[in-house]
Symmetry: C2
Subunit: 501 residues, 2 copies
Amino acid sequence: MKTRHLLTVIFLISNLSLAQQPANPAALNNATRSYIAQHRQEIMREFQDFLAIPNIATDTPNIQKNADALTRMLKKRGLEVQILKVEGAPPVVLAALPPLPDRHTVTFYAHYDGQPVNKADWKQDPWLPTLVSRNGSFDDPEARIYARSAGDDKNSIIELLTALDALQSAQIRPSVNIKFLFEGEEEAGSPHLDEILSRFGPSLQSDLWVICDGPTNQNGEPQLVFGSRGIVTVQITAFGPNRPLHSGHYGNWAPNPIVELAHLISRLRTEDAEITIPHFYGPVRPLTAAEQAALKNVPNVDQQLRKELALGRVEDRQTLAEQIMKPALNLDRIEGGGAGPKPANAIPSSATAYIDFRLVPDQTPEIVKQQLEAYLRSLGYFLAGKPPTDAERLQHGRLLQVVWGAGYPPQRTPIDAPVSQAVIAAARTVTGNSLALLPSLGASTPSSLFEQQFKKPVITLPTANYDDNQHAANENLKLKNLWDGIALYAGIFATVGSLWK
Amino acid sequence: MKTRHLLTVIFLISNLSLAQQPANPAALNNATRSYIAQHRQEIMREFQDFLAIPNIATDTPNIQKNADALTRMLKKRGLEVQILKVEGAPPVVLAALPPLPDRHTVTFYAHYDGQPVNKADWKQDPWLPTLVSRNGSFDDPEARIYARSAGDDKNSIIELLTALDALQSAQIRPSVNIKFLFEGEEEAGSPHLDEILSRFGPSLQSDLWVICDGPTNQNGEPQLVFGSRGIVTVQITAFGPNRPLHSGHYGNWAPNPIVELAHLISRLRTEDAEITIPHFYGPVRPLTAAEQAALKNVPNVDQQLRKELALGRVEDRQTLAEQIMKPALNLDRIEGGGAGPKPANAIPSSATAYIDFRLVPDQTPEIVKQQLEAYLRSLGYFLAGKPPTDAERLQHGRLLQVVWGAGYPPQRTPIDAPVSQAVIAAARTVTGNSLALLPSLGASTPSSLFEQQFKKPVITLPTANYDDNQHAANENLKLKNLWDGIALYAGIFATVGSLWK
């Protein structure tokens, strides 16, 4: 025991001295890359074991297994683990390395839950991680591992932990105090995160939040992102007769709910992405000069993507990077008239549209909710919160059921703030000049919740390949992105503290 | 054997003498009702056995079992049976009673196939006929039997055969020569019926076609129908990216096929049933004075139906009876973004609308096809007949896959023609004045094919309850409609020949 204590003290002293001067970027990168090359088997074994645990937020027993596995993985590396629990929420795993005084604290956030799956659409079980490599090894630069959450977002967790391993192996102490916060219901809209941040605030103090989620640039190069679009989802159901009716006997007399829903959708937005809900764009904050300058330097991948995705048109004339700075109204699903090989010729009882709104500063889910509901009412609709009774259907010629899902507001950290500049410089010790700087991610992360709760900057560092089928069937991660992600986190751990003015 | 021959001769002579003077309607009805009351068990046994044979047109082995059962049921009654077979079509069963000279021949058409089922929506197996009766017996006036085709259209076949039994039991000879034609793919759009009528024309000669299909009036009273709307179905698919895309990263840049389809539907028809395809109403023939007069006498069931179906509005200001004299564009199903408990927040690859058009004279499926395709092209669309390749998707900013289904044109027999008046008078010997006269059924039957092929009148005689969930889950027949249908056919068999001027 004594020997061990003594060794720990020597280790801490040696690290302290290392941390007092900036790490040599070239030496650090060599050490990290060498560590990765020598430990690919173990890294992949840990990743695959983690991916094999089913992780839908509502699957409570399996979500607990994920949290237990995470706890073991963190404790093994000497982190102190605390489980943050609130009623009805999956466990949130908070972990910290023993802190040193007079250093900035950075909390790295990721999530261990995944999007719901439709197994029929997958080539293999979503929780049977499957390696596809042309030469059967991890060396193939095109090798990918297929599993739910391979790219969104268990990859980030493995990269963060392995970056620590690589630094420890090279006896390099992180330049900041590090905490990890791993959530288990991000893909369900983080309905309890606000409560958790508020209740456990004292344990969660830090000077910077880094959201480890999302894909790198579509040109394959890394990027730093200074915000994310907010999100709020809504299901809208229109109603026809209270039972399906033969479309010959009743067609063009009994109201057709698919027709009603189609007209409604066409009144919500154009085919060119313009949202036609009155006053919708009112709260949108213009981009700053620094954000506009950064946008100009984002690589233009539009032609490459249009070809790859077989897009004969795009929804507006601006670039993808410019488009995702605006709010969006997305139709995720529409259904009416059942499923199966061939529809009956019948007027269905109802039809439902599943919509997600993507929001930009200073929109909020609450504002959008009020705007949409006011608009629907102005179109003559009575809005029901739950399935309407026959009496309600009879009473209201125009009737919709509107059910809102969870969501979060958008968030944006000024790209020219000192902390932003420190993270950019730290990332560049690994990436060189290939780093793209995006004022906002198109996707949604809970970054706004951290900003609102702690009034501290939030920056997003995505590492997955852009073509990872995130949220869809056959989700995957390119192994190259895993190795690059480890190196990037290791570089940031080691240098950001000394670059932070 | 000798005794039997002698009896047959006596029977024929007695029937001949009976047929030379109009049957006494009251005596005839009493005899039929008495026969039904005494044979309910056997009638229901035969009906249930027939309903228990699965009967989707594409289920070849089971369709053959239906045809075999029909053949047995017909031969048992002394009818001569001929199976009409063309490549790829279910067997068509043609049967005839031995004809007498100098009589009109009437062919009664029905179909033994049923609409496809979604078993999950049914309370019991669609082919496990289930009696629901409040007192457990056939006497309950609300008793119903639940099974696919209980009301559309195996009921008609059982009623026709039992009507023959009732007449034979009362030793009453039909007043016309009777043929039955039972088809096995009506619910699939009768794709081979035209070929069959043409190829087997000589066996199919008759002076009148009676289509035994469809529901009675919504007020529960019987009706005669002098036409039917035509039908043609079409699937329209819009395309987004060639794989589902995260709606955050790509939302409002990558085209959303659900949005495109919604706008397209809103350009095809209004929420008030008006079809906005250019020139669509051009071929519509105005109603004659006799048809308008008949329409005025159709019972108005709109308020009753609106309450029963919980309809807060209807699609146009005219009555149901008036509305179904016009063409309709019905949305039967819409799908995009998959199925399952909760959608991913993703832009789907495609979205599909399933449409049926209901046509009135002088529209045809071919005219509608040309009108719709011309309109879609005028909106800038390239139309693909099969799933487009990536190259086609990339080439055409506006691209739809348009797949037409089978269909038939509309048909209408003049309500004031002598044959129409004879059938009306024959039916009234059973129904009295409660008979409604409808210029056209809202639904589609292949009546136009008979008219086109044989240039003979076609009249439709529906007997099912209007609330039979035809084409939907939990299809059923009220037993009262079965008993009434038997009596009605018996009356027409016995009297129409002598009433035909």
